[in-house]
């Protein structure tokens, strides 16, 4: 592959990696859910457990991003990242569960803290 298309798509090997390490690991769980979830009833006890596990795994992913931050977020000190999450959650509760207020509140605390640190 050469020219415009070549530079747009890039290295064919990277695409193979994308399918093997990105697409399949996600799709396998979705299709497994479709395949095995077939007979489950909406209000069943099993689904209450499954929802709780999904929520807790997502909570783990959130904690992972905050505790072991990727890219530019690693330049923000630990205490400031934790403080921003706590502030965002407080704003969310104070505004009768507004996601917008919570996200903006958390971001403002992080940006203000970074600015204050110089």
């Amino acid at each position: 592959m050469t020219g415009w298309l070549g530079s747009f798509v890039g290295d064919p090997q990277a695409l193979l990696t994308l399918v093997l390490a990105g697409f399949l690991p996600n799709e396998v769980w979705r299709m497994l859910g479709l395949w095995l979830g077939g007979g489950v009833d909406e209000g069943s006890e099993l689904l209450v457990w499954v929802r709780a596990v999904a929520t807790a795994i997502l909570a783990g992913v959130i904690a992972q991003i905050v505790i072991q931050p990727p890219g530019a977020l690693a330049g923000v000190p630990d205490w400031l990242r934790y403080g921003a999450v706590v502030a965002g959650f407080a704003a969310f509760i104070a505004t009768k569960r507004s996601i917008f207020a919570g996200v903006v509140g958390g971001e403002i605390v992080m940006l203000a803290g970074k600015w204050w640190l110089g």
Partner: protein
């Protein structure tokens, strides 16, 4: 007010994918690769993990393991959302595309919006919502990729911070049962403890334990 809430989630998703596009550029992936990743992977945290592990020189196998672990959460999401769309006549293959679209945002939105959509129209509704969100995110990925050279470090950090904030709050908003609230709180608290064990599947271990404890509390309360 409801439409504002969905606008906010879409905005957050847009900003998250701006960040993912910028991250892909800085890690020297091609634009085509970044767009294809958004279309095929369609899960923000998985894409961040994929780009950062590959970008830091890990092998494809190591990246695949890390992504697989983060993606386990999609399994129970699909299991809990699909019954909302199914009618007795629904074939499994009619749900394949809807299942692919399931990620955090769509999972939250389906639980919020589907009960108000007539059951026979829910699959079409989910397809529409999914295609709309994917299109928005493809634009954001391309834009983030193009802007990244000029993106200040502080702005990049703010964008990456959006993902945990938005995920935390949208999940908290969606908590109805005591088991959901407990699962969220315990999941956040248990992860740092489990992470010190360096099992390689920390998220999975903390998630299943916290989720099961939360379910146990619900079961115990229902009996009492």
């Amino acid at each position: 007010m409801r439409s504002v809430a969905s606008t906010v989630l879409t905005l957050v998703l847009f900003a998250t994918y701006l960040g993912i596009g910028a991250l892909a550029h800085d890690s020297r992936f091609s634009l085509g690769w970044a767009l294809l990743a958004t279309l095929l992977v369609w899960a923000g945290p998985a894409q961040i993990i994929l780009i950062t592990t590959l970008g830091s020189g890990a092998t494809a196998v190591q990246a695949a393991v890390a992504v697989t672990v983060s993606a386990v959460r999609l399994f129970p999401m699909v299991v809990s959302v699909l019954p909302l769309m199914r009618t007795p006549e629904t074939r499994r293959r009619q749900l394949v595309v809807a299942a692919h679209f399931i990620a955090v945002t769509l999972w939250v939105e389906c639980h919020r919006l589907l009960p108000r959509v007539p059951r026979e129209r829910r699959i079409a509704f989910t397809h529409g919502l999914g295609i709309g969100l994917v299109s928005v995110c493809l634009v954001a990925t391309a834009l983030g990729y193009a802007l990244s050279a000029n993106l200040p470090q502080l702005f990049a950090a703010a964008i990456l911070m959006l993902t945990p904030l938005a995920f935390l709050l949208s999940t908290a908003r969606n908590c109805r049962h005591i088991s959901d609230i407990l699962a969220l709180a315990l999941g956040l608290l248990l992860y740092p403890l489990v992470a010190t064990l360096h099992t390689g599947v920390d998220v999975l271990v903390s998630g299943i334990s916290a989720g099961t404890i939360a379910y146990g509390a619900h079961w115990w309360r229902a009996r009492a």
